[in-house]
Symmetry: C2
Subunit: 374 residues, 2 copies
Amino acid sequence: ATTVSGQAKKLTIGLIPADGIGKEVIPGARQVLEALPNIGVDSPSFNFINLDAGFEYFQKNGTALPEKTLEIMKNECDGALFGAVSSPSHKVAGYSSPIVAMRKHLDLYANVRPVVSVASEKDFSQKNVDILIIRENTECLYVKQERQTTDESTGLKVAWAERKISEYASRRCGKMAFEMALGRDKFRQNIPLEKRFWKGKPKVTIVHKSNVLSITDGLWRETVRVVKENDHKYDSVDMEEQLVDSMVYRLFREPHYFDVVVAPNMYGDIISDGAAALVGSLGVVPSANVGDKFVMGEPVHGSAPDIAGQNKANPIAAIRSAGLLLEHMGFHQQALHIYNAVDEVLRRGEYLTPDLGGRATTQQVVDAVIKLVQ
Amino acid sequence: ATTVSGQAKKLTIGLIPADGIGKEVIPGARQVLEALPNIGVDSPSFNFINLDAGFEYFQKNGTALPEKTLEIMKNECDGALFGAVSSPSHKVAGYSSPIVAMRKHLDLYANVRPVVSVASEKDFSQKNVDILIIRENTECLYVKQERQTTDESTGLKVAWAERKISEYASRRCGKMAFEMALGRDKFRQNIPLEKRFWKGKPKVTIVHKSNVLSITDGLWRETVRVVKENDHKYDSVDMEEQLVDSMVYRLFREPHYFDVVVAPNMYGDIISDGAAALVGSLGVVPSANVGDKFVMGEPVHGSAPDIAGQNKANPIAAIRSAGLLLEHMGFHQQALHIYNAVDEVLRRGEYLTPDLGGRATTQQVVDAVIKLVQ
Ligand SMILES: CC(C)[C@H](C(=O)O)[C@@H](O)C(=O)O
Ligand SMILES: CC(C)[C@H](C(=O)O)[C@@H](O)C(=O)O
């Protein structure tokens, strides 16, 4: 769907704000994309399509992810930005998480989550963190193959879920981890050594629990290891592993120990929320759901119903997710431009939302970023 | 197996040091138990039986958990203390974790993990934490029902694991959580208000991920909720819930938000290691594997092969686990005596092992505790 007019590309981006603060932060990220100046000959311009999904949509229409949204994404969009989805706490008949479904339907097999602290005047980022978490995004317990049975002798319920780990998914996710480790290393060469958080060789940490799950996590571990062992391209990348429980412990004790972390779906979900706690707020951590044909940016935070509609949600995770979207579509220079503007806003500390101890509104933060982006 | 001689009880305790530093910290905990003075009429004396298990034992004998160890525990012991087990990182044919097997065979259905910071001169406990984690201990992915298949079209491997959540196990684990919330509340009444970390009503937090696993985690959540709803005894206990990813985030941002936390097996494993990071070191966090008929104390840390045999492992987790063992066998006064001695050693900060920034040996810490216990 990419149209080339003269030199500049017109990108069609699907916007799916979904629930709660998703409706505030996605429009904010859109404004930042619209404000991007022409940088270089390949500077894209944007065309946005608003798309429906979410729990609120489900309550009105009986589906959380209309077919039309998927079709337009597949046929008309170059990429997408997703907001956040509310989780009903009770089981609601017919409801199923649209974000999990989209990851599967669009084959967005890796969830890329950079967690980076910013040197700031304020105290909100307590540790020096520069970790890239690559979360497998299509299987593990997220295949949602669940069933309920009854124990015949007691009449009590017994529920079962299947956890799937495939060589196919583990391999491409592992490949992504080593590729991005090399990419980060290359990028760091442009940064003066004293300003780098990470000064050593690139490193990939494999997370698993194969001391208990020797077959599933054993396959995951072995497959990711073999990605490196079979390709000399990755000789310069160190590889190590952590049991998921130790991983969380160590993440908090020595976050500077980690460079790229690659984890099965559920562990990756937990670890990335944990890592977000190290950089001041979930409100600054972006992600990209990446496949071979499509990318969807998505802030790591949820729909935050408690603060929704009050213009005080932190738009930074969504704005950075727009940057990640550009990065994974190949627009590195434009992505960097967004990241730098965001970093500078955080560094100055003048416009911070309440989650970072400030009093700025969502729109004020968006405006501050736009000022630096233009 | 409890023999009553006069007033004092003779308790038979199985000691299973297993691997690595387990062999240093379990003898340390034994010395503390032996040093316990007579307190009150029901003061127990001890009889210890050394029992085999572990990865090293497996390498020599082809089994990680000899039948004899289980039999002696069942027939001759009142309780046990387990050290730590080494995890082979490769899949080793015939090897299976002995600790997971013991929990199952002895029906030790709840793993009780108190994570408490101690006001200290030193800086090693950064946050005010007083959390009791109750981890379901017999099912979830730990049922280890795994299989490997082949994708016919690609020839690639696909592995599957079953996750089991039963109403039966969830209910008794939930019951344990509410009981212990009441017990903690009762205990706190003896502490001056200004010295309590937790000043409010007792609270139980249910951890789950039912927004994705609506059937398994849905059953877990519902069953634990019903424990409270069906019993007026628990009316005074607040109940709330956290998705496991948010749980880890919040644990690090607001650890003082939590009182009792109850979680399925795998989430509980991850959360308790995470919580340990808040109190300075895994080396101070104990656990008890609790069933209706048997209790087994177990430090939360692993076998730490990197420091094994050097007399520098922290014995505090094992000593506190001996305290938990006594507590869950009904010897509250004796348990408290051990906890107080340990707290005082930490507070003074004179004898601390390297994980807490000190230079003391394992034995010096044991001796310091014994001095205060006697
Ligand atoms: C909303 C939920 C299904 C989702 C997940 O678990 O993947 C969210 O926590 C995330 O991390 O994107
Ligand atoms: C050694 C391992 C099997 C064990 C577990 O996962 O239960 C350990 O991590 C623990 O927490 O006791």
